[in-house]
Assembly symmetry: C2
Homo-oligomer: 599 residues x 2
C-alpha cells in the first residue's frame, strides 16, 4: 500500500475469527462463495482503494467541488476513482447476481466499504449513496421500476441520492413541504426544495436518480402523508435511453467543514419546468420505505465513523513509534538519546483509547452487518423476529456510538502528533473534520438517543432490550468458564445488571406517566447502553482469542495489543457507566426545569 493506511489483519480478525462470516456460505444464497473469494475481493478492493481513492483524499479536500452557476466541477481524480471502482465490480457487491451484483454477504460488503472509507470517505460516498438508493428501489419498487433503474445503477452509469431534508425540515420530516401532484400520465408533478442532498449534482454519471420524499396534496398531515418518488435528473425514454432534463435544478453547493469530496446540495424540483416523479411503494407509506433503508444506511454511517477512528489511530501509532521526544521520568542524563513518544504513558493512553473505541465500534458495526446477513437467510419466523428485534435496538447504537466516540478517538490521535497533527501536512486534521459529520447526518445522535430509549428499548414490553441482555448474558456465561477472561466477564455481568436495573426504573417512570422525565436524559442512556454493548464486543473479542486452539505465532503480539485495549476499556471506560446509571435513576430534571430564554 502506498497511500492507504489500513490494517488488513483487523478486517480479517473481525470478519472471520470473530464473526465467522463464511458460515453463511453453507446457505444456497451464498454457496457460490467461500473464504477464498472474500479474501481475493478484499485484495482487489485494497489495491483499487490505494491507487484510485487514497491518492486524492487530501487533494479533493483542498480543492473542493465548485459550482460555476451552470456546472459542478470536481477534480478529475474523483471520476477516475469511481471508474476504477465500477470497473472492478464493487458497485453492486451485496446485490443479487440476477440484478448484476456480486451477491456478497452484507458483512463482507461492509468489509469492502471499510477499505474505501479508509482511503477516501468523500469519493466513497457516491457509490455508497447510489447503492442505498438502488437498495430502496430493490425493496419497494415495482418489477418495471427495478428493471429500469437497477441495472444502470449497479453498472455505475446512473448514480442515486436520498432526498429527505428541506431547509425548514431536518429532524422533523413530517414537516416537509415538497408536493407531488398526480397527473393523468401516471407520473406526479414534483415541486419543492430539498436541502443537504449529498451527491445531488455532479457529472460523474450519465444520470442521477433522486429518491424524494414528498406530500400528495389532500393527504394526512405530518409523517403519515409522506410518499416516496423516483425523480431522475434526466428523463428516461421507453427504450431506456436518456431524454431531456427533468427540471431538478441546483441552487448551490453547501461548503462544509469536511467530507468535502462529496457534493452536498440545495436542489429545486420543478422550478424551471415540470419535474416528473414516479411513486415508489404505496401512497403515504414513503417514510416507512425510507426508514427501512435508513437502517442499513445507519450501519454504514457507524462503520464510516469507526473506520475514520481506526485509520487515524494507525496514523498516530506510526507517528508515536517513530517520533523521538523526551526521556523516561527516571532518566536524568540530558545527553542520553530521546525515546520514541510511544514510551510515554500518556501517549499510550491516547493510543489505547483510540484502539478501544475504534475496534470496539468496528466489531459492533460488522456484528450488525452479520445480523443483516443472518436475517436474509433465516427461515424460521421466530429466528427472523429475534434478528429483527436485535437489529432494531442495536441500529441507533451502531449509528450514534461510533459517531461520537470515534470522533473523540480522532481528537486523541491528532493530539499525539502535536503541532504536526494540527497541520494539513498530516491527514489527522482532515479525518477529524470528515468524522465530525457523522454525529449529524442520517438522524442526529440526539434523534438516535430518543429513538433508542423512547422506542426501541420500550417497544413490545421491552422485548428487544431483554433479547439484547440475554445475548450479552450468553456471552458472559460462555466466557465465565475461562479464568483468563474473569476480569472481563465479571465486570460485564455487573454492568449488565446495573443497566438492566436502570432500564427497569426508567420503564417504571414511563408507566406511571413520567415519560418526560424518563426521556429527558436520553443521551445519557445512549452512553449507558452503548457503553455496555461495546464492553460486550470487547469480551467477545477476548473470548475469540482465548478460544483459538493454535494461534499463529505472528499474531501473538497483535492479540496482546487487543488484550491491553480490552483492559483499557474495562478499567477506564466501562466503570463510567455507573455514573450514567445513577444520573438516569435520579430522573434528574435539570434539563426540563431550565428555561432556555434565561441561558
Amino acid at each position: 500500500m502506498i497511500n492507504l493506511k489500513l490494517r488488513r489483519r483487523e478486517i480479517d480478525f473481525l470478519l472471520h475469527d470473530l464473526l465467522n462470516v463464511d458460515a453463511v456460505c453453507a446457505h444456497p444464497r451464498y454457496a457460490m462463495h467461500d473464504r477464498g473469494v472474500f479474501d481475493a475481493t478484499l485484495d482487489v478492493a485494497i489495491k483499487v482503494a490505494d491507487e484510485h481513492f487514497a491518492n486524492h483524499a487530501a487533494k479533493v479536500d483542498a480543492e473542493e467541488p465548485h459550482f460555476d452557476g451552470e456546472r459542478v466541477h470536481l477534480i478529475p481524480e474523483v471520476k477516475q476513482g469511481i471508474d476504477a471502482y465500477v470497473a472492478a465490480g464493487f458497485m453492486g457487491t451485496s446485490f443479487d447476481i440476477d440484478d448484476g451484483g456480486s451477491q456478497l454477504p452484507y458483512a463482507v460488503a461492509q468489509g469492502i466499504a471499510w477499505v474505501f472509507a479508509a482511503a477516501n470517505v468523500g469519493t466513497a460516498a457516491y457509490p455508497f449513496l447510489t447503492m442505498a438508493a438502488a437498495n430502496l428501489i430493490r425493496a419497494h419498487g415495482s418489477d418495471a421500476q427495478k428493471a429500469r433503474y437497477l441495472p444502470p445503477m449497479i453498472e455505475g452509469r446512473w448514480f442515486g441520492t436520498m432526498c429527505l431534508s428541506e431547509p425548514q425540515a431536518g429532524s422533523s420530516l413530517g414537516d416537509i413541504r415538497t408536493r407531488a401532484e398526480a397527473t393523468e400520465h401516471g407520473w406526479y408533478s414534483i415541486s419543492g426544495t430539498k436541502m443537504w442532498i449529498s451527491g445531488g449534482e455532479h457529472e460523474l454519471s450519465e444520470n442521477i436518480i433522486h429518491l424524494v420524499l414528498a406530500k400528495i396534496p389532500g393527504g394526512p398531515a405530518g409523517s403519515r402523508g409522506i410518499s416516496l418518488f423516483i425523480v431522475p435528473k434526466r428523463r428516461i425514454n421507453d427504450d431506456g435511453s436518456l431524454g431531456e432534463r427533468n427540471h431538478v435544478s441546483l441552487v448551490g453547493l453547501n461548503h462544509k467543514m469536511g467530507y468535502r469530496g462529496t457534493t452536498n446540495t440545495l436542489l429545486n424540483f420543478g422550478e424551471t419546468g415540470e419535474c416528473r416523479g414516479w411513486l415508489i411503494g404505496e401512497v403515504n407509506h414513503g417514510l416507512a420505505c425510507m426508514f427501512h433503508m435508513m437502517n442499513e444506511a445507519r450501519i454504514g454511517v457507524g462503520l464510516n465513523a469507526a473506520v475514520l477512528g481506526h485509520t487515524a489511530y494507525l496514523h498516530s501509532l506510526d507517528y508515536a513509534l517513530n517520533r523521538p521526544q523526551g526521556r523516561k521520568p527516571g532518566e536524568r542524563d540530558p545527553s542520553s538519546p530521546q525515546v520514541m513518544i510511544a514510551e510515554h504513558p500518556d501517549v499510550r493512553r491516547m493510543l489505547l483509547v483510540q484502539k478501544a473505541f475504534s475496534e470496539g465500534a468496528l466489531s459492533l458495526c460488522l456484528y450488525g452487518a452479520a445480523l443483516v446477513d443472518r436475517l436474509a437467510i433465516a427461515e424460521a419466523d421466530a429466528e427472523r423476529a429475534e434478528l429483527n428485534l436485535e437489529l432494531e435496538i442495536l441500529t441507533p447504537i451502531i449509528k450514534a456510538w461510533p459517531a461520537h466516540y470515534c470522533l473523540e478517538a480522532n481528537y486523541w490521535g491528532l493530539q499525539i502528533l502535536g503541532g504536526y497533527g494540527y497541520t494539513r501536512d498530516y491527514p489527522l486534521e482532515r479525518i477529524y473534520r470528515d468524522n465530525r459529520l457523522n454525529p449529524i447526518h442520517e438522524g442526529t445522535n440526539g434523534i438516535q438517543a430518543g429513538d433508542l430509549l423512547g422506542r426501541k428499548v420500550m417497544m413490545h414490553g421491552g422485548a428487544a432490550f431483554k433479547l439484547l441482555i440475554a445475548r450479552i448474558a450468553a456471552t458472559i456465561e460462555a466466557a465465565s468458564t475461562d479464568p483468563s477472561l474473569a476480569e472481563f466477564s465479571t465486570a460485564l455481568k455487573a454492568a449488565s445488571a446495573r443497566v438492566t436495573a436502570t432500564t427497569m426504573a426508567l420503564a417504571a417512570a414511563g408507566a406511571r406517566g413520567e415519560s418526560d422525565r424518563m426521556l429527558a436524559n436520553a443521551w445519557v442512556y445512549m452512553e449507558l447502553l452503548g457503553g455496555l454493548v461495546i464492553g460486550w464486543m470487547w469480551l467477545r473479542q477476548m473470548q475469540c482469542i482465548a478460544g483459538m486452539a493454535n494461534p499463529n505465532e505472528a499474531d501473538l503480539g497483535y492479540f496482546e495489543g487487543k488484550r491491553q485495549a480490552a483492559r483499557y476499556y474495562y478499567r477506564w471506560e466501562l466503570p463510567k457507566l455507573e455514573r450514567h446509571a445513577a444520573l438516569l435513576d435520579s430522573l434528574d430534571d435539570t434539563l426540563l426545569a431550565t428555561s432556555a430564554a434565561q441561558l
Copy 2:
C-alpha cells in the same frame, strides 16, 4: 454590535460582581483607575473588536496567509484591524504608564483580550504575542534593552515572537540545537531552525523582535544550557532607526486546521548571513526566564479556549431560540406549530454543558488573572508566597482544562446547528477548528498534566495543593450558612475530601518509590483536580449571586440561567470525579504495561 457575538453582562459579572477587580484601585499602582475607566475601556474594545476584528474573522480563515517565496501576504483587513487596535491604545494595556502602557490591572486586560478573542483569535494573536515578548523583555531585560525595545513594541511599530520549538524539539526543549556563539562585538551569532513560530513573518509591523532560546557551545547539556536572546528581524541602529536585515529567513508557512489568520512559521536563523542576537537575562537561565512568561501565556491560552467556548455557546443559543423544529413529545397533532429547538431537553443539555464549561472556565481564567494582580501589589512576603503557590498549581489547570473542555463545548454547539453547523456559513465549525489548537500549544495538555501532578501538587511537601484545598474549604464554609447553596456546598465538600484522599494516596505511592505508577495516569488527575476547581468556581458564582442585597430586576433571568448551569455542573459533571479518583487510587498500570509495538 454587528459582527461580534459577546455577552457584556458575563464579563462584568465575572470581573466586578465575582472578582471585584476594582479593589486593586485602592493601591497606588492602580489609583488612577476606577470602575468607570474599566467600563469605558471595555466599551471601546467592543467597538474596535466589532468593527475591525470580527469583520474579517471568516475571511482570513477562508483566505489564509500565503508566502510567495519572497513575501507573506495577508488580507488587508488584518493590518487595518491591528492599526485600529494600536490606535485605540490596546497594545500596552497592562504595561506601566512609564513604558507607554495603560497600567490596567491584568484581569481587566484579560477582559479586553476576551473581547478581541471573541471577535477574531487569528488577528488578536499578533498583539498577544507581541505583549508576551515585551513582557519578557520588561521582566528580564537590561535597562538599555528595555529602553530600546519596549517603546516601539508598545507603540505597535515592532511586533514580537517567542521562538522555543524546533522541528526535532517540541515538548523537549532541552534538546534544541540552535546555537549562539559569542562574538567580540557583544552580540552572539545565532544559527539554527525554529518551528511553530506564530507571527514569525508578516509585514504588519516595521520590525519583528524574536525572543529565541539557543545554546551557547560548551554549556551544560539539556535545559540547563539554554540561554535567551533578542533577535530582531531587522537590525537596529544606535539611534533606534532600522538597519539592514538580520538574516532571519522564512522557510515556509505551516498550513493549519484553524487559527489561520495567524502566520505560523518555520524560520532559519543565520543561514543567509550573520544573524545577531543579544543575550537577555543570564547565560544558561533562558528557560527559567521563558517559563516565567509562559505562565502568563498559559492563562492567555486558557482564556482564549474559554472565550471560544462561550462565543460558540452564544451562537448556538441564538440558533436554538430561533430555529423551529419538531414538537413536544406529548403533542400528537402534526399540524400544530413546531417549537423552537431550545424546547427539546437534549438541546438544553447541549446548551447547559457549553455554559457550564465555558463560564466555569472563564471564571477560572479571570480568577488566575486577578491573582496576578494581587501578587503585583502584595507586599508581605507570606502573602506573596501564598499567591505564588496558588498561581503555580492553578496555571496548568487554567491552561489545560478550558482547552479540553471548551473544545468539547464547541462540539455540542456545532451539534445544535446540525447540518448548518457543519457548513462554513455559520461560525461554529471555524471556532471548533480554531479551538483545536489550544490543547496543543504552550505546552500540550499532556505536558500540563505531568507538570500538575508530578511537580505542582507534590512540590514543597504538597504546600500548593494544601493551600488550594484550604481556599476551596473557605468558600465551602462561607457558603454552608446559606441553605440555598446547600446542594452545591455539600457536594463540593465531599468532592474536595475525595480529591484530597486520592492525592494523599498518590503522594504515598511516590514516597514508596512507585513514582512511575503515580505519574502514569496524570491526565486523569488533571480531570480530577480540574473538575474540582471548576466546581469551586461555580460555587463562588452561586455564592456571589446569593449574596447580592438588591439584585437588578433585569438580571434575575440571567442569574436563574447561571443557577441552572451550576446545577447541571453539580449533578452531571462533578459526580464523574468519583470515577477518576477510583482509577487513580488503583494506580492502574494498564498504560505502563502496554507495549506500543503490539498496538
